[in-house]
């Protein structure tokens, strides 16, 4: 029956007749070959050829349009959003046609014109004892030829090198630990270590300080620490830890737990904006229900009960920033947050 993979047509039922000894059923073989339209009708073959050509031409046109729209559309300083949009659409469509033209053309060519003889290949026996013995012999030969048994110096130095090789990884990953831990515990709200000067609450993004009298009932201020805008580097990292939402409620609406009496001022409270679930900014404040909603996973915090979680996957209340008013009437943070802000992490409970 010839080489089974040479593409020559085969007769159904002549393959894989082994295993018939049991006589359970007769091998049906592969179905009879059915010629395609293009195999029998020269006109159909010609038509398929033209279709493939047309698809390749579409690809060529797509590439040309891409190049033209990339170079000919000027995106200088005075270009409008409309120009950018036109170019975006042209680039996307032309790339799609350039790629799809080639792909569909090749597939159509293969399906309609290239030979489509069915081929089946008899399955090999899986393994024999001789094969296994041969494989073991090969491994033995390799060990013998490397001479590792005869040259203990090489063997021992190799073992030593392998044992030492993971150490750099240990050093690198070790650096991820304690330092990051400390960084998550401290924010820019801590009073200056030398002068003891307390940090003012300022408006995001302008950095202007906020008077207690500016915060009317029902207001929500988005707050950054004073001096954040002056940072030369690491500004975003500091901002990500220190952002605070400042709100004023009717003082009798607040349920203040013992020890936190001095943390708010006349109903003005400040809470970290970083969700304790996975760190999204919680800033959707409803001024009538006093709910704070996290937009990512719908964790809801009750502002009147010190931001306890009343719904959603967060497991801890939002950290509160203790605030007071300085001699000029501006709001300042009396201390840093009393716990790390944001989501849980490995060493959070150990200091």
């Amino acid at each position: 029956m010839g080489n089974p993979s040479d593409g020559a047509p085969q007769q159904g039922g002549t393959v894989a007749t082994a295993g018939q000894a049991g006589g359970r059923f007769e091998d049906p073989g592969i179905p009879p070959h059915r010629p395609r339209l293009a195999d029998t009708d020269p006109k159909a073959a010609k038509r398929a050829e033209r279709q493939v050509t047309a698809l390749f031409v579409i690809s060529v046109i797509g590439t040309v349009v891409f190049l033209i729209s990339y170079f000919a559309i000027d995106l200088g300083n005075d270009s409008s959003i409309d120009t950018i949009r036109t170019q975006n659409i042209l680039l996307g469509l032309s790339t799609a046609f350039a790629m799809l033209g080639i792909g569909t053309g090749i597939v159509h060519w293969a399906k309609a014109l290239m030979p489509d003889h069915e081929v089946s290949e008899a399955r090999h026996a899986v393994r024999t004892e001789e094969d296994r013995a041969a494989a073991v012999r090969i491994v033995d030969d390799i060990i013998e030829e490397t001479g590792i048994k005869r040259r203990p110096l090489i063997r021992n130095t190799l073992i030593g090198a392998l044992a030492l090789a993971p150490l750099p990884a240990l050093a690198v990953f070790g650096d991820l630990g304690p330092n990051a831990n400390d960084k998550l515990r401290h924010t820019m709200w801590a009073p200056n270590a030398q002068t003891g000067k307390k940090v003012r609450l300022t408006r995001d993004p302008d950095g202007t300080p906020i008077r207690a009298s500016d915060v009317t009932i029902g207001s929500a201020f988005h707050v950054i620490p004073e001096g954040l805008n002056d940072l030369k580097e690491g500004k975003l990292n500091e901002k990500a830890k220190a952002v605070v939402l400042l709100m004023r409620l009717n003082p009798e609406d607040l349920n203040i737990s013992p020890g936190r009496e001095s943390w708010s001022y006349n109903g003005i409270v400040a809470y970290s904006k970083i969700c304790t679930h996975v760190g999204c900014p919680v800033a959707l404040y409803e001024q009538q229900t006093h709910h704070l909603l996290c937009p990512c996973h719908q964790s809801t915090f009750d502002l009147t009960h010190e931001c306890q979680v009343i719904f959603g996957p967060a497991s801890r209340p939002l950290p509160q920033l203790p605030i007071e008013v300085d001699s000029d009437g501006y709001l300042v943070a009396t201390s840093d947050f009393h716990e790390p802000v944001g989501p849980s992490y490995w060493e959070r409970e150990y200091s």
Binding site: R211, E286, P295
Partner: protein
């Protein structure tokens, strides 16, 4: 001076002194109170207020009380200001159609004149935010600064493309597409329903003008990336790619494995 000192024993001198003292106190008080209530409205006439009162009694007093003092079914309107009344009435939120998680926008029930009269009456109940100055609504501010303010203060609820978003228990922040500049300004100063107040001490009037300019700019220029699918982020875009994208891939795989005729 001599004539004055002679007449000080006159029987009517005490009365004259009292009248003068009262006048002085009154003038000083009115000066002081206008300084305190620089926001109290003066643009409304007395007839605006009285027509507004009639409309109020007929349409609003059931819930808000005959004098706007509030009741079990509606809040007090004393001190909410003309801006709040104009916002609620001109967007059709008031009179409220039905109770629910929040009052929703619907076609306004009062024309511009009636809305103005209602605002005049509510403003007369107590000083509050006034109607915004025309110059703050012209949309000729700094759109870049407005965009920054919007992303910090508004985008968490109203979506970065101002398409709106969900809040808790059926409430939502509405889309800002097509909302008139005056309503946007009024919403910021009054904080309607669950929206927080963004007073002039928080975002200055110029900042509000910048925000309005930003909103008008993004409405005018459309989406730079083509079809925005409602600007709702992963919800609509995910649905599109699951249905249309996977559909195309499935169609291609069927075509790839099908026999040519």
């Amino acid at each position: 001076m001599k004539a004055l000192s002679q007449k000080r024993r006159h029987p009517l001198a005490v009365v004259a002194l009292l009248v003068m003292g009262l006048l002085l106190t009154g003038v000083l008080y009115s000066v002081a109170s206008t300084a305190n209530q620089a926001k109290a409205d003066s643009g409304f006439t007395a007839s605006d207020v009285s027509s507004g009162q009639k409309l109020f009694v007929a349409n609003c007093a059931t819930c808000h009380g005959m004098n706007g003092q509030g009741s079990a079914s509606g809040p007090s309107l004393v001190g909410v200001g003309a801006a709040a009344a104009d916002f609620q009435v001109s967007t059709g939120r008031m009179p409220m159609q039905m109770s629910g998680p929040q009052a929703q926008r619907k076609p306004a029930q009062f024309n511009a004149d009636q809305t103005r009269q209602l605002a005049a009456f509510v403003a007369s109940l107590g000083a509050g935010p006034t109607l915004p100055d025309e110059s703050m609504l012209d949309g000729k501010g700094d759109a870049t600064h407005g965009g920054e303010l919007f992303r910090v203060n508004c985008a968490m609820c109203h979506n970065a493309a101002a398409a709106g978003g969900a809040l808790t228990r059926g409430k939502f922040a509405p889309s800002l597409d097509g909302v008139p500049a005056q309503n946007i300004y009024e919403a910021m100063v009054t904080g309607p329903q669950n929206m927080p107040v963004f007073s002039d001490a928080n975002i200055s009037p110029e900042g509000k003008r910048d925000i309005i300019t930003f909103l008008q700019t993004i409405q005018k220029q459309g989406s730079p990336g083509g079809a925005d699918l409602g600007s709702l982020g992963p919800v609509s875009e995910g649905l599109f790619i699951w249905v249309a994208g996977l559909g195309v891939i499935i169609a291609f795989t069927i075509w790839l494995t099908s026999r040519s005729s």
